[in-house]
């Protein structure tokens, strides 16, 4: 490892511009003649749109146009798609209702757009929007998943009778039933996985610019995957062919999944830009973010786990109702199925698993992938079940896990996933040591003497990341491949540009990706630039989500680097009159091994471009690209242990210690990894203690601002105690597993297990607010 190579704690290159206000976000971009859009959104959870009168608004100052849902339908802009086909257990395809970018006839959640005002300024557009009269006929609404599947419930879409999108199963029901029939003990648990609002720091925004002469669109947007956005806008939404649509995702301030999807506002901005003949900008405000950014999670689950007389798990049965909201968002269908139920084996040998997932429409904001996407739901369920089992079987929770750990790899679970490598005992040992697990009973007794209820909670999570490979996800219904591309461009003076299809919106790619180059060539990272987020610069890419940028994106860069280095070595060997096989790369020089003959990398680059003296038949230039498709998912895993105290008078939780022992495979930049874990843990703790997107029974959102929706703040969370154990991922040459989601996946179960341990009652739902904990303590 060099000072800037793999494994070095290099300070993030990109932070200089972020912390000095020099970042360039979509809202910072101003185009000549730009207009501003303000959406008119439904105040009702379910209503017919009987008419829209924009005559008064059109007379107001600065108004350019008022465009409605009927017009966008008339112009044949496509309905929003869901990109992962799921088949129900009866063989029928999932049942989807149409989702137009603006509603022409029916609105199905509060915040759904029915029209847009285009004006000379944002404020003028807002003024005019207040003068647009929308005549709604209210319809009965339903927000709760159980209420939605009852007979007689309000129906959202004629295509989906009973509000059911699908009834999907995985695993072997017969084998699971047989295991339960023979079980010595059965543990049962009902859990709700609370709905969350992602709340990236930067709200979503879009600027669309139509060039009528070239019939070409440029879209600046807050996207985690601009190429996927272009593909979907082009192939499905009828905006423009791909070569006539450039999508730029510049600096993006956080995504957490919510910026994977292509939203109505981007479609409307593009369409409106052509209609009004001027650039159209839309920047969402925080209220719009709460109402329209795809929410996360929202599961209701009943699960049962069977054990033999030796406390070995023999079977697992799970039934989950997943609330999809009012429409099927882009990857929503995959989240409670292939990203959730395939992880239900956790870190454990479970011979038989059967899971059923029922997807349900409700009059709420659409739900899709949010940091962890399905895997937090699986991990939370399994880890609460393990804790419940330990209490019921009267064994130590850590020991029960150890009894059931998978120790032989590769391990084929009964639910598709084949774990490639891991050492679950190592991470459990590390976490137990870090928190002094053995000393806990004495600490609990001391806390009791002080009037505090102290608890400890273990969570042993596993996740499937680096999502890929394309062939596998394709066989499961995915509409896209999940590879990544990269291009290495060496300039004639030896500086390097790395073009990547991964997209950085907080992950630090501009630093970590350079570290790979520094590691291989021995050049300083200041000589390397990372280019991403522009479909005109990078040919194609699948973007950043599912902790995939290092495992997949960086590996693509490695593959391109290898090609480039191979050519560079030929050039160096030719210049040094040596054999190509004798050339080694050290400290920015190409050397003939065992001699003092060397040529500096910039000279090799220059030789490639002057082309005065290249090997016979070699093309000039030094630029290589690669597409990389992994052979398997990666499987980050680890153990989190949380120790906390509950104040019995108020139900308030205070952290004593929180340890995280993660196995992410090889770390490129441990400092950035720690930052990712910190952020993930805070989101997991936020879900466990604070966050909850709530609707009333009429589908009205109750938590549409930070006055009501409790985001975790620095003083809500402890100082984390992090460590790593390492098994290298065999699925990619760098041995990387990914670290972006682990914290959010593993933390919530550790917290709830600790609180339920502290209060001595097992039934506690998230978020464990002080009120809820206090009532649980004092419940009969």
């Amino acid at each position: 490892m060099g000072v800037e190579g793999i494994g070095a704690r290099v300070v993030r290159k990109e932070d200089k511009r972020f912390i000095t206000g020099k970042g360039r976000y979509v809202d910072d971009i101003k185009l000549q003649g730009m207009t501003h859009a303000h959406f008119i959104r439904s105040p009702h959870a379910h209503a017919k749109v009987k008419g829209i009168d924009s005559s008064a608004a059109l007379k107001m100052p600065g108004v350019v146009a008022v465009l409605t849902g009927q017009e966008i339908v008339d112009d044949k802009v496509g309905n929003l798609i869901c990109g992962w086909a799921i088949t129900s257990k009866d063989g029928s395809p999932m049942k989807m209702g149409a989702w137009p970018a603006m509603a022409p006839e029916t609105v199905r959640f509060v915040g759904q757009a029915v029209a847009v005002v285009i004006a000379e300024s944002k404020n003028l557009a807002r003024d005019a929007a207040e003068a647009v009269v929308v005549n709604y006929e209210e319809l009965p609404a339903v927000a709760d998943v159980h209420a939605a599947i009852k007979s007689g419930a309000p129906q959202l879409h004629p295509e989906a009778p009973g509000n059911q999108v699908y009834d999907w199963v995985i695993g072997d029901e017969g084998a699971a039933d047989a295991a339960f029939a023979k079980a010595a003990n059965v543990v049962k648990l009902d859990v709700t996985n609370n709905r969350l609002a992602p709340n990236a720091m930067e709200p979503r925004a879009a600027i669309a610019d139509y060039d009528s002469a070239e019939e070409h669109f440029t879209l600046y947007t807050t996207s985690q995957n601009p190429h996927v956005a272009r593909l979907v806008l082009s192939a499905f939404y009828n905006i423009a062919p791909e070569h006539k649509l450039r999508v730029i995702a510049p600096d993006v301030g956080g995504g957490f999944g919510s910026k994977i999807f292509i939203y109505p506002e981007e479609m409307v901005a593009l369409w409106a830009s052509k209609k009004v003949g001027r650039p159209v900008k839309w920047t969402g405000d925080r209220t719009e973010a709460f109402l329209t950014d795809a929410h996360g999670r929202d599961h209701v689950t009943h699960a049962e786990m069977a054990f033999d007389a030796n406390n070995k798990i023999t079977g697992l049965k799970v039934k989950t109702y997943a609330n999809f909201g009012a429409y099927m968002s882009l990857f929503s269908s995959s989240v409670p199925t292939y990203l959730y139920a395939t992880l239900l084996s956790g870190q454990y040998n479970i011979p038989a698993i059967h899971a059923e997932v029922i997807g349900v429409y409700t009059n709420t904001t659409p739900v899709d992938a949010y940091r962890g996407a399905g895997r937090p739901e699986a991990s939370y369920l399994i880890e609460r079940l393990m804790e419940t089992a330990a209490r019921q079987l009267n064994v130590d929770p850590a020991a029960l896990r150890r009894t059931n750990f998978i120790t032989q790899f590769p391990h084929q679970t009964p639910v598709i996933m084949a774990y490639d490598v891991g050492d679950f005992n190592a991470s459990l040992d590390a976490a137990m040591k870090a928190i002094d697990y053995a000393g806990f009973p004495a600490r609990k007794a001391k806390a009791k003497a002080d009037g505090k209820l102290r608890g400890i909670g273990v969570s042993c999570y596993i996740e499937a990341c680096g999502i890929a490979p394309s062939k596998a996800v394709g066989s499961l219904g995915a509409g896209v491949g999940l590879w990544e591309s990269a291009e290495v461009r060496v300039n004639p003076v030896g500086t390097i540009e790395i073009l990547t299809g991964s997209h950085s919106h907080g992950q630090g790619h501009e630093t970590t990706f350079c570290q790979l180059v520094a590691e291989r060539l021995g050049v300083p990272i200041s000589q390397v630039s990372i280019v991403h987020g522009d479909t005109d610069k990078v040919q194609f890419g699948m973007g950043t989500y599912g902790s995939r940028s290092a495992a997949v994106g960086l590996t693509a860069i490695l593959k391109a680097m290898e090609k480039m280095e191979s050519k560079a070595k030929k050039i160096a060997a030719h210049a040094l009159e040596a054999s190509e096989g004798d050339i080694v790369i050290e400290n920015g020089e190409f050397k003939v091994a065992g001699t003092d003959k060397a040529i500096a990398f910039p000279m090799v680059a220059l030789a490639a471009y002057t082309a005065h003296n290249l090997p016979d038949g070699m093309e000039p230039g030094l630029k290589e690209s690669a597409f990389y498709d992994p052979t398997n998912f990666t499987f980050p895993a680890g153990t989190y242990i949380c120790e906390l105290e509950v104040d019995p008078g108020t139900g308030k939780t205070s952290f004593v210690n929180f340890v995280a022992a993660d196995d992410f495979g090889r770390l490129i930049n441990p400092m950035i990894v720690e930052g990712q874990v910190h952020g993930g843990l805070v989101q997991g703790i936020g879900q466990a203690l604070l966050e909850h997107a709530i609707y009333d029974s009429n589908g009205q959102p109750v938590t549409a601002s930070f006055m009501d929706y409790a985001m975790p703040r620095a003083d809500d969370v402890p100082s984390f105690n992090l460590s790593h154990t390492t098994t290298l991922c065999p699925g990619n040459p760098l041995g990387i597993k990914g670290c972006g989601e682990a914290g959010a996946i593993g933390a919530s179960a550790a917290v709830i297990n600790a609180i339920t341990d502290a209060i001595g009652k097992n039934n506690l739902e998230m978020p464990a607010t002080p009120d809820r904990v206090w009532r649980t303590i004092h419940a009969a």
Partner: protein, 266 residues
């Protein structure tokens, strides 16, 4: 935000005259409530009269047994003030747990009590300490000043100039923070005056805003100690209930916060 006309007043008299000229004028103190409400287009004053630069509204004075905090003094300046810390440390503490650093740099005591949010912290202090609200026209006892949710005895165009607190023998404040807004989910201020009167006020709990808690006052009169409150029963009826706290929970918090406030008061 709708269009408005911004004025920066240099004296209370100028502010009053500017107010009289506006059709629907509003005074702007720290702006911690008014500005967000205006940004959401829920308020549209014709004129906004900024009181923030009026010198006579700034500062703290301790004179004998009376601590006077001028209305325009920010939370940050109050919590840092040596006289406040010395005379009524419970006020310094209350201020230090009010909002967050950004709010504390901008918000003012006058703005807080004029707004009379039912979950604001200061109203509990004023009510428990028997403070007097000084305006450009008169002095109003705290008992008369707070008149329900977002309602006070202030007349149109009347400006709070200062709050005078009798220095108590003992005082304490504890609150359970609202997890999202950081207002008081319930906060209780207890005071033992130098004349031996016991006054307890709770904020964030009642549907009618800040309130005295006679049952706890009676218990403390018999025995100034946290344990004296053990046997007090607080009814949940007429208490606030929302997603962060049921009425029963708030009833419990009134007791628990009162006990902790007494412990803090010593």
């Amino acid at each position: 935000m709708y269009q408005t006309v911004y004025h920066r007043a240099s004296s209370v008299d100028e502010a009053v005259s500017l107010f009289a000229k506006g059709s629907e004028a509003k005074f702007l103190a720290g702006g911690q409530t008014l500005l967000p409400v205006m940004k959401q287009r829920l308020a549209s004053p014709s004129d906004l009269i900024d009181l923030g630069k009026i010198k006579e509204l700034q500062g703290v004075e301790l004179s004998g047994d009376v601590l006077t905090i001028k209305a325009g003094t920010t939370y940050f300046d109050i919590m840092q003030n040596a006289d406040v810390k010395k005379a009524i440390p419970a006020i310094a503490y209350l201020t230090s747990v009010l909002g967050d650093p950004a709010v504390r740099y901008r918000g003012t005591i006058g703005g807080s009590i004029a707004n009379n949010d039912p979950a604001a912290d200061y109203p509990a202090a004023l009510l428990a300490l028997g403070a007097a609200v000084k305006t450009n026209k008169r002095s109003i006892a705290a008992d008369d000043f707070f008149q329900g949710l977002f309602t006070t005895a202030l007349e149109d165009g009347e400006i709070i100039t200062a709050v005078s607190f009798p220095v108590p023998a003992k005082a304490g404040y504890e609150k359970m923070r609202h997890p999202a807004s950081r207002f008081a989910l319930t906060g209780v201020f207890v005071a033992l005056t130098k004349s031996g009167e016991i006054r307890v006020a709770a904020t964030g709990a009642s549907q009618t805003g800040v309130m005295r808690v006679p049952a706890i006052e009676a218990a403390l009169k018999a025995n100034w100690s946290p344990s004296a409150i053990d046997s007090v029963s607080i009814s949940a009826s007429n208490l606030l209930a929302d997603i962060h706290g049921t009425a029963e929970y708030r009833a419990n918090l009134i007791k628990v916060m009162a006990q902790r406030a007494v412990a803090a008061a010593g």
